[in-house]
Subunit: 476 residues, 4 copies
Amino acid sequence: MDHPNARGKGDSVLSNLTLMQNLSAYDRLFRSPSACRIFSEDAHIEAMLSVEAALVRAEARLGIIPVDAARVIESCCVVGLYDKDSLAIKTPGAGNMAIPLVKQLTLAVRERNPQAAKYVHWGATSQDVIDTAFVLQLRQHFDHVSVLIDRISNDLASLAEKHRRTLVAGRTWLQHAVPITFGLKAAGWLDSFLRYRVRLSELRPRILVLQFGGAAGTLAALGANGTGVASALAEELDLSLPSVPWHANRDRIAEIAVFHGVLMGTIGKIARDLSLEMQPEIGELAEPIIEERGGSSTMPQKRNPVTLAALISSALRVPGLVSTVLSSMVQEHERGLGGWQAEWETVPAICALTLAALERFGEFLPQLEVMPDAMSKNLGVTNGQIVAEAVSMALAAHEGRDKAHVLVAKASRHASQQNIPLLQSLFQSKEITAHLGAAELETLLDPSNYLGSSSEFIDAVLSDWRSALAESKHGG
Amino acid sequence: MDHPNARGKGDSVLSNLTLMQNLSAYDRLFRSPSACRIFSEDAHIEAMLSVEAALVRAEARLGIIPVDAARVIESCCVVGLYDKDSLAIKTPGAGNMAIPLVKQLTLAVRERNPQAAKYVHWGATSQDVIDTAFVLQLRQHFDHVSVLIDRISNDLASLAEKHRRTLVAGRTWLQHAVPITFGLKAAGWLDSFLRYRVRLSELRPRILVLQFGGAAGTLAALGANGTGVASALAEELDLSLPSVPWHANRDRIAEIAVFHGVLMGTIGKIARDLSLEMQPEIGELAEPIIEERGGSSTMPQKRNPVTLAALISSALRVPGLVSTVLSSMVQEHERGLGGWQAEWETVPAICALTLAALERFGEFLPQLEVMPDAMSKNLGVTNGQIVAEAVSMALAAHEGRDKAHVLVAKASRHASQQNIPLLQSLFQSKEITAHLGAAELETLLDPSNYLGSSSEFIDAVLSDWRSALAESKHGG
Amino acid sequence: MDHPNARGKGDSVLSNLTLMQNLSAYDRLFRSPSACRIFSEDAHIEAMLSVEAALVRAEARLGIIPVDAARVIESCCVVGLYDKDSLAIKTPGAGNMAIPLVKQLTLAVRERNPQAAKYVHWGATSQDVIDTAFVLQLRQHFDHVSVLIDRISNDLASLAEKHRRTLVAGRTWLQHAVPITFGLKAAGWLDSFLRYRVRLSELRPRILVLQFGGAAGTLAALGANGTGVASALAEELDLSLPSVPWHANRDRIAEIAVFHGVLMGTIGKIARDLSLEMQPEIGELAEPIIEERGGSSTMPQKRNPVTLAALISSALRVPGLVSTVLSSMVQEHERGLGGWQAEWETVPAICALTLAALERFGEFLPQLEVMPDAMSKNLGVTNGQIVAEAVSMALAAHEGRDKAHVLVAKASRHASQQNIPLLQSLFQSKEITAHLGAAELETLLDPSNYLGSSSEFIDAVLSDWRSALAESKHGG
Amino acid sequence: MDHPNARGKGDSVLSNLTLMQNLSAYDRLFRSPSACRIFSEDAHIEAMLSVEAALVRAEARLGIIPVDAARVIESCCVVGLYDKDSLAIKTPGAGNMAIPLVKQLTLAVRERNPQAAKYVHWGATSQDVIDTAFVLQLRQHFDHVSVLIDRISNDLASLAEKHRRTLVAGRTWLQHAVPITFGLKAAGWLDSFLRYRVRLSELRPRILVLQFGGAAGTLAALGANGTGVASALAEELDLSLPSVPWHANRDRIAEIAVFHGVLMGTIGKIARDLSLEMQPEIGELAEPIIEERGGSSTMPQKRNPVTLAALISSALRVPGLVSTVLSSMVQEHERGLGGWQAEWETVPAICALTLAALERFGEFLPQLEVMPDAMSKNLGVTNGQIVAEAVSMALAAHEGRDKAHVLVAKASRHASQQNIPLLQSLFQSKEITAHLGAAELETLLDPSNYLGSSSEFIDAVLSDWRSALAESKHGG
């Protein structure tokens, strides 16, 4: 489990990082400055150096290496000192980034203090550094994700509350079903987000864990000190100590991927819904008109939902990346040939796409314009058929569900074929009017009378949200 | 959370099911009788009928429909009554299986009691029945998965304990790294399995939840009784009651898929390891010779590891299926067009492949033959180089880690090129023999002296396993 | 290349197959009777028996085995003779279906003629039989696919011709762009289908190829007769003879998967378009009202586009299956452990889903109702903005593209904010009216004047289609 | 088909590009300088500018815009002029890179010649520029791929020829099967590569095609000149002219993805085979010892197969990316919301990973050390059982295939259980020695006598390769 002060201490490990590379157009479109910062090459190098520094601190603390050596080494664990180009050039031959980094670190330390250079990377292997560095990056990432989930939950809660009585067509199979409220839609989305909150809280302690096993998971290079160093290193980095190194058993890594995969699916679902309601013939939602946003290079009238396109695009991309991570779990023996390497760009890509999607969705939501009038107008598009079920259920009290369904279906078909209102068609059926009078039918055909438990459902979700909120305040 | 008595009561819902279809060759190779039973068409129909029966019981209890009608309807909720061929033929036009089933059910009820037929499926929609039926099937499935995870954990624990001192080459990048023990390998696998135990316990309460929202999630057809019926229905089925219907927000479904996806990856990883150790040049593991098992149609000597092939095959298949489920989450509005339907065969396929993999792996493990002699012999294949790190770390105490690494690497290269034992090559280096004498080098080159914290790690995992076991006994 | 008479002769191999199993509801919804027939277990067994029969015929022809023995063996190669249940039960232990089948075949032959039993499966291995049997199944499949591609092409050509002047909103980013015609949409789809025709013709000769290599690709069991038997066997089966057995190099298999993967994507794209135009607020397309088709279990008015849902569902499922096939290509040595086995259900699943999608789409297309009036009405939904580009380009002749774009964009924004027609807003801009008079603006704002090269594009595609058609008649 | 001079002319479009960004460590590990150059942001911008320049040249040629304006615009189509940072910042709001680029281009032109600025991007839309630019990048890419496929084919042909008699264990299911030759393995790989040659030649003319349709595929902004400009533009860019714009029908794009997906699978398969033969217990292949290559940060003896790891890693990653591209084909109407955008990074990623894999594999192959002695030694590991089939087939001539198989299987099992040579076990079976004498058995058990058609297969593939080579020289 995390220490109570884990976040504070942990953050300081990477807190001063600034993004040294320029962001590409696609970095800005599909990712974001903070996602790029957390998962940049610089950040990974810095995190690896943090692990190297913590390792020597831990070892010095236990008297395994000299305190002075540790101090010199730590002073060289500064990302600015490194020649990234040379590091990149050496990576294909080395097979990973840690090997050339440790070499450069050793050289840098030797220049300052040849004695200290003897103790660089003492007892560790590349994977220890790479895996644990990634865990440190994930800690920063999870902090962002957590804040964004809460922020989006709050905005969805506002929508649910504000629009609890805003009628809108419920749509199934891309056809009108029965009336619902826009607040109920929002409550359904919020309900998912509240589950991501819980999932993240379950996931974090399994992920924010030291990975330290040496060459093949025995820590043999540290002799009898293996578990002692592991414990001290975990403490230095404010990470949990696992029972056994997990270098070759990658369920923790896969769990990161799938958490984001599911979350990205939910974002994609909401974005699809919003984009469909923004179609010009439907026009129930809009983004505010912002100069230059969503324009076309040729069509002057265009207001393309560019944010939603980016979100849906990421929802299309993440599933394939997740499948790669799952396939890659089948890693050979104590360190795989290909499977481990396949994680290196894929898992950060999943995290970065999802984090950016959360950010952009979080910015988008408060700007969303809801048009209750258009929603109301669209309810009438089927000329009353959207409440056919209401009539059917009322008639069912008299004729039974089965026969009522047949009678109203027939009237609906008739209405469609004649292009007349359902009400008029119902009036033409004696089997229906025998039980339901004109006034009753008109009442039944008012969508606002057919909302069922919508409000209760909204209340239940908002109540869950308030509990979650309260829990956040009192700890977490 | 589950009721204390949930399992007992829930099980009875589906308990008498026998498998009515014949199993195909691939059903038996990649799935299993129990997986096919749980996820057969028959089982799905039976589960849907269980939902219909529970619905009318709940509604009769609340006085919404007559108790007598409910009794008649319930008596018709028996899978044997239905014409599956006709049901299948009607499905493409209906778009799902629930619609023709409800029609057949209504007809069957009407034949017995025309009055009762009026109340069939009262207030529900197809998706309520389909989704909740699948949840009931999952409850059975999870019970199996849970037992199998425990069984496999126990067998892995035995392996870890029994082979805690059985030396084997640690292998990284498919090359020898440093010595480890076979018990440590098993402990690493067990550690993963203990996490699946926890994940399943987190997952179950989120999945074993009623799905009941009516046409578009408002339960409007039930008027003011919507949440009351929902609550009673959940009770009837021993499922949890969600705050809001989740028909369109499929993170629960995706979570089922990804749980299995990750688990299947772990099984694939272990199967890959085992299969590599069974290569004839390595020969560290074997399956017992069983008549007809793993033979060839032409090669008389063959003993193919057919079980491992099936496990690895499933580990190759599940990731793509998981990506489908994630892609399918992007479902339109209150019921998607294509996304929901894409789940129907895919999620059960994932569950069935994984359940069968657990079963076959669970049968395989106790039969595994471990050959410590071969493991020991293979340790010598590199002529001592597998403990080069031991020498390097001993030398590092004198020369520093960096220089020691260079010196021993040079000696290793020399040994490889001359095809001589590492010991002999080390003797030829004055820089090495200056610090390390012959006796010391020989001690260093004994793999059994270089196991580091292996035993401690095994102890830690076995201790976790014992705690999990104790927990299982005292509740769960 | 195929023999001229390949199809006739090849067909007879499997021609009398009737489907012995019942189809499940999902077989009928996502697959089809013909897809299930071609890829059923029965069909696979029958195809394997065809290979065994052809093998002994070829060997008898070359004098390698006695002609009488071959005749007896061939007479036992009849699917009805086999105990499928026993075959299924033996499959997990054998690891594939061919081994128990060859055993049953040998027993059946021995009962009739013990001498003949000596020659069953002479010189072959399981994979030869399994792979080549699948190729025979694919030949049938490709014949269906080819006919369906042509049928759909013809229907798309009719749509393109008939609706070459039917105005409809061009939609980009789910917003209105500029007017197009429904015929142009259809021509674009047709253009893709014409490419699948070509791709299939390129693919067929690479796929309809014998796979015959014996135990590990050397045909050593046949001594000096290996290539002779291979050649005679290919002739017997009307398959091409490859230069080398391809048992371990699976690019042919992967190519099958990806061909279908891309084709399914095109079907999904068209289905998505159609489903969007069927939304009630848009209403430009409809399926005819057919009793019981697309109904709901609760909503009487429902006409769900169930065919399109099935198509989109398959388009969501196939990509994940394709990724499995690609992952599975990484098969070890001369026969993989897991990768080969992962193909067995996955590739037929891809073929069956796609074949059924072609069938259902082929049935759907001629029933499609096109509503030109609704299309025309929707063109007006943006109050003229859909032809903003026309105004912009006319103005560009005077002011340049850049400035014109800015001016019309401003007028469009103004029109949106004030909710007035674009024409009115344009009138309010002196910079615009300085160049474009009222009459000119009205002409520009008539969508039927802004169709550009639509008709020429349609002509070009229809001309390609006619050439393809002619080519089909004169050979193919 | 390409013009004869297409390559020369086409190349000049992008020929002077130098890579302006630094390569990251993973760029160098998983991609390569040339892959990064072709698919860099700079290259994409340059290609887009090439399209803009060709567009105005074409339009000036047809008298649609002034020649002087075209010249000025063309002079501004130089990647160095642009502020990439500003372009990146504007991209999320614009939704694509072309819009801010056209804006910057217009500004740059205006500074030089305000009149010319009027004609920038005349008649085009963003997608025209983005899609066609990508096609130009692909032309460069395909040239590299083509050369690399030929280079690798040549090296595989050398291996096949050189090792046509080098005995090695044929391995199926990761167990010994029958002897083969290493040349036959190489011939099988070569056979696949020869098919990629053909596939690429089929693919190129379908891909190297202009994409130009204006706002929604009608080219309406160009009035009656649409197809004329399209034709001239295709000529300027040396691309084929399609019958209809393909902006919304993405089978061409998907075809690119799947071609690479299958090719990457073949590379992965070969890399897996090589890596398995490099295992220390097997030791049949090796990479030469190169200083710093494949070392470990802690184990001095390590020589990790880093190139193979990178290849297998890419073979694990590409399938998921391909599934994304297939899923993304389902794009809405005339330009999708999410699907099109999902292609932008994914398709180049697939191309870059595959191109780099081809490069690295091409460098690796000539360095591969083949150890015939080790191969020969491993043949003996099963103590003769690897040629059990030879004995079985010889016995079959007397006893029939079925009985012979049973007898030799029994002897093999006995040999395994007693850990004795197969020969000795065979001697103990009277049913075997009744037909096969000691001398004959010894001959049968010599692996070099059991190679079947290996040499003929190698010849056939080498003959195909020579034909392909000749074809390359005489045109292509």
